[in-house]
Subunit: 103 residues, 2 copies
DNA sequence: TTCAATAGTTCACTAGTATCGAACTATCGA
DNA sequence: TCGATAGTTCGATACTAGTGAACTATTGAA
């Protein structure tokens, strides 16, 4: 049984968040989740279709451990949701700001 | 003769900036430069006194290549200044926002 | 209940990056 | 010219990212 690691809100660090968002693929994943404003499976939120499953899984793990997303099992899928509220409390406006830039 | 690499403004990437700021030591360097609002030598802006010179030099190189600082020679020292204007044009409010968080 | 399909994770490997001490370069002042 | 100062470069080691292959868990159909 897979156990997901989610840091509590007050253990989310700026360095962790920035490092997680510093990868273009992960930024695209987060943008997808923010646009959807709902849960998405890993493959739904995949930044490009030809990415190796293991790489994708690793990106989701990094986002999860940085505190940016929350993952739960739902049948055969993992449902991912942006921890927008937690990030906003910890680092107000940061997420909105970063997601607002093009590229 | 050492030649410094500074990306032009429009080649500064979000991923590069975030990656550069994702390191606590580099974040402290940038905070020092922002607080000083003036040039600082590498040792003046060092985040902690016991850091190896080569490591410090590497951090400045990364900040430089990300477009966050501009370095020029002045005698025996290298004078570093935050490229606040450039970053603000490229990613408005990002720098101010990130530097405003404690930690 | 058995078995194939689907969705992710874990493992082992390779390649790239961070840290450090040591050696090097450039500048200044005596 | 020589020593001190400020950084950079180099070589070694340790850690991290990306990948395919193997694995786990759930579902749905025969």
């Amino acid at each position: 049984m897979v156990q997901f690691v989610h840091p509590p809100r007050d253990e989310i660090t700026l360095a962790g968040v920035l490092a997680a968002l510093a990868d273009p693929m992960r930024l695209r994943i987060v943008k997808s989740l923010a646009a959807q404003n709902d849960c998405m499976s890993c493959t739904e939120a995949a930044p490009c279709p030809d990415m190796a499953k293991s790489t994708l899984s690793n990106h989701f793990r990094i986002l999860r451990e940085a505190g940016l997303i929350r993952t739960s099992k739902q049948g055969v899928q993992h449902r991912n949701v942006l921890r927008e509220e937690d990030i906003n409390v910890r680092f107000p406006k940061l997420l909105k700001m970063i997601l607002s830039y093009p590229e």
